[in-house]
């Protein structure tokens, strides 16, 4: 049960992160590879303020959101002239600068050791603390609801239409009198603010952060979520998050497969594998699963699973995924 609650909280955090990425990638076709780095900045701001200065929940949250917004403005200023491939490389470089700073600025971020001991939030005026995971779950989903309400508005108003239009034909949008530059930067700003919110929640929930939690692997996960849920689709992204967070979970139970088989067949495992045909079919599968359940294999296996899913989805939807034709 405890584990189930953990999964639901993680889903909540990723919902915020993925939906905000969906705003820039799905609507604006802005391939912002620095999204997870901004999320990392949000997590680090909260972690540092909470451990070093002992700031409260709302203070940390607001600071994380605003500082991430500031990073979005810097990113927007750097990348405003860039299109497509240049833009992807520019944001990739920006995210690499941030991860290099997280690793090397030891006096501030403690380098690869990370920041341990982030206290969970407490609301003294309500006499509530969030050390209990159920309470934290409620807090997370209140924030998810607020985020989704605001993002839903952003996905369905003039702003989204302008963003879509500029991704399709920048000059024509400009000719209609829309400020494409402002729209682009606003989409960064909004997405990064929500990424900061997700980072702040993550730091509070996990209590310990280090640079390895915010690597490119994480970016690929978020990208997979948005691509699986169809870029630009609000509820598709929700489906993608839930599906992909839960997908590798059965991998954790692979070491119990022989036990399950013994229970199913009512005989010890060596006897099962000796059954003609059926046993020969089962044995290689089971030994592969046992191999995959080793901790040193499980992590890369999970990465590979996401990469393969990303590829398969892109392969089968390659005509429709980022169409050149009009969609607005």
């Amino acid at each position: 049960m405890e584990y189930f609650i953990h999964l639901i909280i993680i889903i909540g955090i990723y919902l915020i992160l993925a939906q905000s990425f969906n705003l820039t990638l799905g609507l604006g076709l802005l391939f912002n590879l620095a999204h997870v780095s901004v999320y990392a900045v949000g997590a680090y701001v909260t972690a540092l303020l909470a451990t070093e200065l002992g700031m409260g929940f709302f203070g940390c949250l607001v600071c994380s959101v605003l500082i991430c917004g500031l990073f979005a403005i810097i990113l927007g200023a750097i990348s405003i002239k860039l299109k497509e491939d240049y833009f992807a490389i520019g944001t990739l470089a920006f995210s690499s600068v941030i991860s290099a700073l997280l690793i090397n600025w030891k006096s501030l971020t403690h380098g690869v050791l990370g920041i341990p001991g982030i206290p969970r939030p407490e609301f003294s005026f309500l006499k509530v603390d969030f050390y209990d995971n159920i309470n934290f779950l409620v807090l997370t989903y209140v924030l998810v609801a607020i985020t989704f309400f605001m993002l839903y508005l952003f996905f369905n108003n003039f702003f989204a239409r302008t963003l879509r239009a500029q991704s399709e034909f920048r000059q024509a949008t400009k000719a209609l009198g829309k400020n494409t530059r402002l729209t682009r930067n606003m989409s960064f700003f909004i997405a990064s603010c929500f990424a900061g919110l997700a980072g702040s929640l993550y730091a509070y929930y996990i209590n310990y952060i280090d640079p390895s939690s915010f690597s490119l692997t994480e970016m690929i996960f978020v990208l997979t979520v948005v691509v699986v849920g169809k870029p630009g689709s609000f509820w598709g992204c929700v489906f993608g998050t839930v599906f992909l967070v839960l997908l590798p979970e059965p991998l954790r139970f692979t070491r119990d497969v022989p036990l399950a088989l013994e229970w199913l067949f009512g005989m010890p495992y060596p006897q099962i594998s000796a059954i003609p045909v059926l046993g020969w079919l089962i044995t290689p599968v089971v030994s592969f699963l046992l191999y995959a359940s080793r901790p040193s294999v499980l992590g890369p296996m999970r990465q590979m699973l996401y990469a393969v899913i990303l590829f398969i989805v892109v392969y089968f939807r390659r005509e429709a995924l980022f169409p050149v034709q009009r969609r607005v």
């Binding site: 076709l29 391939f31 750097i78 990348s79 002239k81 860039l82 299109k83 497509e84 491939d85 240049y86 992807a88 490389i89 520019g90 990739l92 470089a93 920006f94 690499s96 600068v97 290099a100 700073l101 690793i103 090397n104 000059q171 490119l216 692997t217 690929i220 990208l223 691509v227 040193s296 294999v297 992590g299 890369p300 296996m301 990465q303 590979m304 996401y306 990469a307 393969v308 990303l310 590829f311 892109v314 392969y315 390659r318 005509e319 995924l321 980022f322 169409p323 050149v324």
Partner: protein, 296 residues
């Protein structure tokens, strides 16, 4: 400034590695307009294939090199067939996303097969540095510099004075016109993609001798190769190679020289490549060596 000659030699060494690593990327981009994110991972896979035969199985150098070459040629052909070709003509995003997933697949398979710990190709024997007039250099580093010169010279010869090179140049300038004149785009694409991967793998093996191997090294070298390419202008082969040497120079000077009694910690060496990408994109988005204007 007695350290300056040593720094210059060091930057020549890292510049040579970056040049070997980024030449293939620039050729592929020039031909297909595809940013191959898995390029650095071909270095990693090639180096690990070499490591597998040379250290774990203790075969000789020629056998290991042949094996690594075979593995890379097969993998590159297969990757091109599956991960690049179906998407190259559709949208810029698609090949970038698929090569990102290819890169992750490479990285995680190597971490599963060989473990995530650092491996070294030179664990069996000791390398003595030679010293010339106060400059220390190992035989491996001499090989790196010389082979970069030889291989880049070979590329220059092929591109500029053979019929194959003429066909490659024709397709990178205008692929419709080239195809209309009877140049097989498919063959040239495979050839360029595979030879780029082989060059990268060769650079990866040299890195294995020079420092060490790790499954995560792919990303770092991909981004370095992107940096060299941005410096030289996307798709401009000679600009990219010049950019690689500039990158090596800036990286080594940035951490080696005292700025008024304060010097940067060595950990920031890598960050310099990324800061340079950002600066070039900000002030000279066409690259340092590109004259023609970009459209739109």
């Amino acid at each position: 400034m007695e350290i300056l000659p040593q720094l210059l030699v060091n930057s020549l060494i890292s510049g040579s590695i970056y040049a070997l690593a980024s030449a293939g990327l620039a050729l592929v981009y020039g031909l297909l307009r595809v940013l191959n994110f898995a390029h650095g991972h071909f270095m990693m896979v090639g180096a690990y294939a070499f490591y597998f035969l040379a250290v774990e199985q203790a075969y000789g150098l020629p056998a290991s090199a042949a094996f690594a070459l075979l593995v890379i040629v097969l993998l590159a052909a297969l990757s091109f067939k599956i991960f690049v070709e179906p998407f190259a003509s559709l949208s810029f995003f698609l090949p970038f996303v698929t090569t990102l997933s290819l890169a992750t697949i490479f990285e995680s398979s190597v971490s599963i097969i060989f473990d995530v710990n650092v491996k070294s190709l030179t664990s069996g024997f000791e390398i003595n540095s030679l010293s010339f007039a106060g400059i220390f250099i190992t035989p491996v580093q001499i090989v790196i510099i010389l082979s970069a010169l030889v291989l880049l010279g070979l590329i220059a010869f092929i591109i500029h004075s053979t019929s194959l090179g003429r066909r490659i140049r024709a397709l990178s300038q205008d692929d419709y016109a080239g195809q209309a004149l009877g140049v097989s785009k498919k063959k040239i694409n495979y050839l360029v993609f595979i030879s780029g991967a082989v060059l990268a793998a060769y650079a990866g093996i040299l890195i294995g001798y020079e420092t060490n191997l790790q499954p995560t090294m792919g990303n770092a070298y991909t981004i370095k190769a992107f940096a060299a390419m941005i410096l030289g202008g996307l798709g401009n082969l000679w600009g990219t190679i010049a950019g690689a040497y500039v990158l090596g120079l800036v990286e080594n000077l940035s951490i080696g020289i005292d700025f008024w009694g304060y010097s940067l910690p060595a950990g920031y060496k890598d960050a310099f490549a990324f800061v340079m990408i950002l600066l070039v994109l900000l002030f000279k988005p066409r690259g340092l060596f590109n004259k023609e204007a970009r459209e739109a």
